[in-house]
């Protein structure tokens, strides 16, 4: 369930009948509720050049929508929730459009809105701490070190052959297995290409934290890919020694 909060309104959205009931009326489609939420907000200032704004906003939204949805999919790990989260971000973006000082920054700005919506919803759903403790050795796992065989020189590159055997679902599974704080940073960097500074602003954490989470998240991701490859028979099962080193 995702919640859109404005200054005076709170709108809840739910697709699953098995989830807890929302505190207010649930609308099956986001659009009507979101529009009404904004329409009846007496504090929303007047709009100028409405037609121009509308066409610009629609073009900007549709341009970024595949990336927005792709990121939402990785954050929520669920297609329906990803669409709801993306739609919420669009609705919130329109409500907050006055805070966008430079239209060239629209992409980073709407991503920040979406990540904040996701984080708020996640924190409302769970009492888990932000940082999940990891064993030290997980932070050091490297697929390259596991697979590279320098004596083969140019005749064979086992590490590249390993990646060739993996399909999109393998990468998705490994990404989805990352704990949220690491997944957020890896998604924003490796999937969307935001700078460390952009991500730090989006998540409101220091750049050093971004570096740390990125490093640990990538190590965890590589370890998950390795484990999946072993489980799926794409690699020989790790030896006991390898298990100890993994």
């Amino acid at each position: 369930m995702w919640r859109l909060s404005t200054r005076e309104t709170t709108v809840w959205y739910s697709r699953s009948p098995n989830r807890e009931p929302p505190p207010r009326t649930v609308q099956p489609q986001l659009s009507g509720s979101a529009v009404q939420a904004a329409a009846h907000d007496p504090e929303t200032p007047s709009m100028t050049s409405a037609g121009e704004d509308r066409h610009w906003f629609e073009d900007a939204v549709l341009d970024v929508l595949p990336d927005l949805l792709g990121t939402a999919r990785r954050l929520t790990r669920n297609h329906a929730d990803a669409e709801d989260l993306s739609a919420e971000a669009v609705a919130k973006a329109w409500i907050s459009i006055g805070t966008l000082k430079d239209r060239d920054n629209f992409r980073g700005w709407i991503f920040r809105i979406m990540t904040n919506l996701f984080i708020s919803a996640h924190r409302a759903r769970t009492s888990r701490p932000d940082e999940e403790p990891l064993p030290d050795e997980s932070a050091a796992f490297s697929l390259f070190e596991r697979l590279h065989q320098p004596f083969l020189l140019w005749w064979s590159t086992p590490e590249k052959e390993f990646l060739d055997k993996l399909v999109r679902e393998d990468f998705e599974r490994a990404m989805d297995a990352l704990p949220e704080p690491f997944r957020l940073v890896v998604v924003l960097m490796d999937l969307q290409g935001f700078s460390y500074a952009d991500i730090a602003r989006q998540l409101d954490v220091p750049i050093g934290t971004i570096r740390s989470r990125l490093s640990r998240g990538r190590a965890l991701l590589q370890k998950a890919l390795w484990q999946h490859a072993c489980d799926a028979g794409l690699r020989d099962a790790p030896t006991n020694q390898e298990d100890q080193n993994a």
Binding site: Q29, L30, S31, G32, A34, V35, A38, A39, T44, P45, S46, M47, T48, D53, R54, F57, E58, V61, L62, L65, P66, D67, L69, G70, T71, R74, E83, S86, A87, V90, A91, W94, I95, S96, I97, G98, T99, L143, F144, H148, T157, E159, K160, L163, R168, F171, M175, V186, V187, M189, D190, L191, Q192, G193, S195, Y196, R211, L214, R218, Q222
Partner: protein, 90 residues
């Protein structure tokens, strides 16, 4: 390992992620790049990590169902044409 000039393998590998992410300032970036061109082992590592990044980047764009795109279009239209729906112009 091989003729590292100003940056050795340990330093190049320590900086590799930030190099590939485009996060190093020019001088340091050039130092890592110079090392990678001189060191086969580190170059192979960089090549692999870049390949993995490329694979992951493909996950970043989701297929937009026509019905969802229409939902978003309707959302924008309803928002932007509703007389009382106005953006925050502050």
């Amino acid at each position: 390992m091989n003729d590292p000039n100003t940056i050795d393998c340990a330093e190049a590998l320590r900086l590799l992620a930030e190099y590939l992410d485009g996060e190093l300032r020019d001088g340091v970036h050039d130092g890592v790049e110079h090392h990678l061109h001189a060191c086969r082992s580190c170059y192979s590592r960089a090549e692999f990590e870049q390949l993995l990044k490329t694979q992951l980047k493909r996950l970043g764009s989701g297929e937009v169902r026509p019905a969802f795109e229409e939902r978003i279009r309707q959302l924008v239209v309803e928002f932007t044409t509703s007389p009382a729906s106005r953006p925050d112009n502050e």
